[in-house]
């Protein structure tokens, strides 16, 4: 093709310019998965544990310590709790991190600190929830 064989200075420049693969897909994928959890599962969880349980609907015994503990100690229950806690954290803290952009923090050491705190909290929450849930199995 004529276009391809044409000598082209800036094309060469751009091929020489090293383009570094971004690691953002890791965080973006966790953010996306967390978005699904936060949109579909979290409202139901809040409705059940935040409203129905304290109001005793349908019955006060439904969320008794024994029942809740039994749920969290089962494989399916632990997996559910892990997914809800961990992915919601990754979703929310990715948002918080990117909100620093709106506050005029676009680059530099302060942004690195915010990034570390946000993703560190998400990672910490993931590790801790996994540890406690597995310990209770």
């Amino acid at each position: 093709m004529a276009e391809q064989s044409m000598p082209n200075q800036s094309l060469n420049q751009s091929s020489q310019r090293s383009l570094k693969r971004s690691n953002e897909p890791v965080f973006w994928a966790l953010f996306g998965a967390g978005g699904v959890v936060a949109a579909f599962l979290l409202p139901a969880v809040i409705l059940i544990t935040g409203l129905a349980a304290p109001l005793g609907i349908p019955s006060p015994e439904l969320f008794s310590y024994e029942r809740a503990s039994a749920f969290a100690s089962s494989w399916a229950g632990a997996l559910f709790l892990f997914i809800v806690i961990s992915l919601s954290l990754w979703h929310g803290l990715h948002r918080v991190y990117h909100s620093s952009h709106e506050l005029g923090i676009h680059r530099g050491p302060l942004l690195s600190v915010i990034r570390l705190v946000c993703y560190g909290t998400a990672l910490g929450g993931t590790v801790l929830s996994a540890y406690w849930l597995i310990a209770a199995l």
Partner: protein, 249 residues
């Protein structure tokens, strides 16, 4: 009958003489069908021949006459003075791009980016004339068609706050055209283009503001091109060791 007139305030800047840009106001007569571009042409022809701006086709095809009209990126050929009357207009060169003179911007950065995405079909194997054309179904054509409508007018670069903050970002139009070729069934150049997509300067500099798609005069949706490629880049990131390079769809 007295002719209606409107004040057009234009940004003037001659880098050889001026320390910084300034504004100059002209009173321009207009009719219902007078475009903003024709208003500028009136100034150049009748009032001040030194006013510099780009234009060519006058009908939304060439993409030369993009400017900021009252702070909004627009093609001046398809904007009309009547819509601003009885207020006035402030016309400035496209935001985020260096001024060459008055209303003309330096397009070099975009042109280099456009070339870097290899904006042409790279076939797997060249086909001889005797073998006939590469055939496509309507559905295959539909996949890329809207992105091929881009006229390189740069309104989306003037609209993009991310490009304004850091011009290393490939930007909306170049990414839309990259997507146009990557999603063409006749093209096999995806592996060459994915490194650009995958870089921080590629799709990951976009924060999905979406103003690029709003200002596009041709109905292209660059924001969708960029964000579809966030998915492609994520698949490429995780499956690059399994699939042949750039094969993740």
């Amino acid at each position: 009958m007295t002719q209606k007139t409107i004040d057009i305030e234009v940004l003037r800047y001659n880098p050889e003489k001026d320390y910084k840009p300034s504004y100059q106001t002209f009173e321009v007569p207009f009719a219902d069908e007078t475009s903003v571009l024709q208003g500028l042409q009136y100034i150049k022809d009748q009032l001040d021949g030194s006013l510099t701006f780009r234009w060519s086709c006058r009908m939304e095809i060439c993409g030369s006459c993009g400017m900021m009209i009252n702070g909004v990126p627009n093609l001046t050929c398809s904007s009309f003075l009547r819509d601003y009357y009885p207020g006035k207009l402030r016309i400035e060169p496209l935001s985020h791009l260096p001024i060459e003179r008055d209303l003309a911007v330096d397009q070099t950065d975009f042109l280099q980016k456009l070339e870097s995405i290899h904006p042409y079909i790279i076939p797997k194997e060249n086909q001889s004339v005797e073998e006939g054309p590469f055939k496509q179904t309507p559905a295959q054509r539909e996949r890329f068609y809207q992105y091929s409508e881009c006229i390189n007018c740069l309104l989306c670069y003037a609209a993009c706050p991310q490009y304004g903050l850091d011009s290393d970002f490939l930007g909306p139009a170049a990414m839309a055209l990259l997507h146009r070729y990557n999603s063409d069934s006749r093209d096999d150049g995806k592996a060459e283009r994915m490194p650009i997509v995958n870089a921080q300067e590629g799709v990951w500099a976009c924060t999905l503001v979406g103003y690029c798609s709003e200002v596009c005069p041709k109905g292209v949706d660059p924001a969708s091109a960029v964000n579809r490629n966030k998915v492609n880049s994520t698949l490429d990131y995780f499956f690059r060791f399994m699939a042949p390079k750039g094969a993740a769809e």
